[in-house]
Subunit: 417 residues, 2 copies
Amino acid sequence: MAKTLQTSLSPLAPESFPDMLPVPGVRLGSGRCGIKSSSTKLDLMLAVFDRPATVAGVFTKSSTAGAPVRWCRKHLPKGKARALIINSGNANVYTGKAGDDAVKAAAAGVAKLVGGRAGDVFVASTGVIGETLPIDRIVKALPGVHRKLLAKPRAWHDAAVAIMTTDTFPKGASVTTEIGGESVTISGIAKGSGMIAPDMATMLAYVFTDAKLPADVLQKLLKSAADKSFNAITVDSDTSTSDTLQLFATGQAKHSAITRLGEPALRAFRKALDALCLDLAHQVIKDGEGAQKFIEVAVTGAKSARAARRIGLAIANSPLVKTAIAGGDANWGRIVMAVGKSGEAIAETSLEILVGGHIVACNGAPPPDYDETPVARHMAGRNIEIVVDVGVGRGKATVWTCDLTHGYIEINADYRS
Amino acid sequence: MAKTLQTSLSPLAPESFPDMLPVPGVRLGSGRCGIKSSSTKLDLMLAVFDRPATVAGVFTKSSTAGAPVRWCRKHLPKGKARALIINSGNANVYTGKAGDDAVKAAAAGVAKLVGGRAGDVFVASTGVIGETLPIDRIVKALPGVHRKLLAKPRAWHDAAVAIMTTDTFPKGASVTTEIGGESVTISGIAKGSGMIAPDMATMLAYVFTDAKLPADVLQKLLKSAADKSFNAITVDSDTSTSDTLQLFATGQAKHSAITRLGEPALRAFRKALDALCLDLAHQVIKDGEGAQKFIEVAVTGAKSARAARRIGLAIANSPLVKTAIAGGDANWGRIVMAVGKSGEAIAETSLEILVGGHIVACNGAPPPDYDETPVARHMAGRNIEIVVDVGVGRGKATVWTCDLTHGYIEINADYRS
């Protein structure tokens, strides 16, 4: 079982890890506790808030969600967080009572170091399913990681590295915005890269801000951002048992109190949060297992936004579409097939498909003077744009995915290294 | 675009094409009309009924169904058929008015040769989507094919070959049964092998019998057989725009009249038809694009049969499960994940999973004395058996699929040869 993973850098990876902006009130530490097979790899990260932060979260809809997700769901309603502890290499999923005990022990171990109660510590695990989490190693490593807590950009980079599994590059994004004229920072990290599918608060992503926001407003902001980003991406239609997106707000910014989502002072922050989540989601796709191409599917003219999203995902999840794109094949007939299988209302006689801005189909047939040359040129590139108008209404949605390649098979045909 | 397809025989292929039993009243002919790029390949088949047959059909649920499917749906309610004409190499889908005209021309061409009306001729096309069907070539080839109509086993073999696209072997099955003590024959042919997904009267399959059955009884028999066979298989979750399953009954058998589905005299026939459809469906899976392993997923203990089927398909359609099996990896955690993403009710604490008869998970955790050795041995084989009990009810269902391999990517990353 212990073959070497293909871990060469995704061709869609950014040139470098972004310059991360520290978030006042947040300190991060990372370490090695030996859960990942290679002892040189970071596999534990700790985030500690100087004062209790408000917290929001969206979690996998899987009915076999892991023990950490159950723990977080249970403690989220209080809306308060002192710390966040994440290990990679073992998902602590389907591990029975031992799994629940492990989560409790991790949270208690952190609480002992940072103060507060175990219930204020959020926990996540990512990696192999169904193997008992060696919790002793985590608990033993905690004091060392706690001693090294830092607010510096390097700590953000290391945290992003520590939560990686089959990811080929660490994922982070930072932005400054304002609330009521006062500067506010948002910084986030994420990891993919298999089992990415929408509607599940996909994979692991953690966003931190110094904004001063009550938990209920935070939750609404996060849900709205997730729907347009993490819930609009798909690598392979599979859903993790551990998918988690959380937003922590330390409240150290100087703006005056915000109590409602609708306040105009929140507009810029909301826009910035949406953009940051979309940035992280795109990074996840660009590191999709085996991904060689980044694919955007924009659907218009559907009965509703929901219908448009379903049509978009039918295309984005179609193995036949994804393999055609992997092969650089301008086989748009498969897009027609995928639109058809969505089950949503369409008007075939006014169905229009554009690939890379070129019309490949309109009015129920290929255009009479169709020239495949520019389409083939677009398909040979790294960034593929598909636009589909189904001609029955005004619903629209955009989703993102990657191509389905030999790399996906290689990585997944023998994962448990 | 014109690379060579990987067309080496599937390792799951049967040793030889079965001995087909001619069906009284059915004659078949095949020919080359040059739609497939290689001029040596059969790409046209004609079935003619000596006297009008009764007919049943189930078709793709795609909202972008092809012109031939629309034609068949329109004429099925009459329940009468004189002939069936099928071409491979071009699906005549998303081809506008030209596509509808082509179907009419093919049906009229056949009607002219065999007598009767164009509406009594059923039509199918399979292959590339979105390219105009060169109907002139078909019409021109018809008289030659009509002259060579035969009832012999060889004609059945050639018909099965003529409808192949990326199939690596022709698919057929034959059985004798009885109605009221009188012998009855059922023979069928099918083709896959991409875009196989359930609930769509999957791919092309044509079954013929000399039974004397009214069209409404035939339709019910076929629907019931399809649900347990073609609608319970999946290769890649994609749905063809052309999926068709039809059953033709020539009425030349000697049994006395049957008027209702519930008649005890129909029991043996029904069983034989179900078995034959399952046989053909399994052949389709065994020739799934790139398939190296045949996978059976049996789900029990679900809330309903429908829920069990959804859970089974969540497993069977999971790229992560299918790649793990391709790699011979006993990574049953991915089965837990797939059960979870089905969205169906399960009792995690009594969830039980068996792989090749070995318990890999029970009561919400791996068994304490779990030994992977026999499981790994099973996973190394060609036939994989997964049994899942979700512990909430009495619903059960079995579905079949194949693994997801490099071969699938190879075939589909550049199909349009």
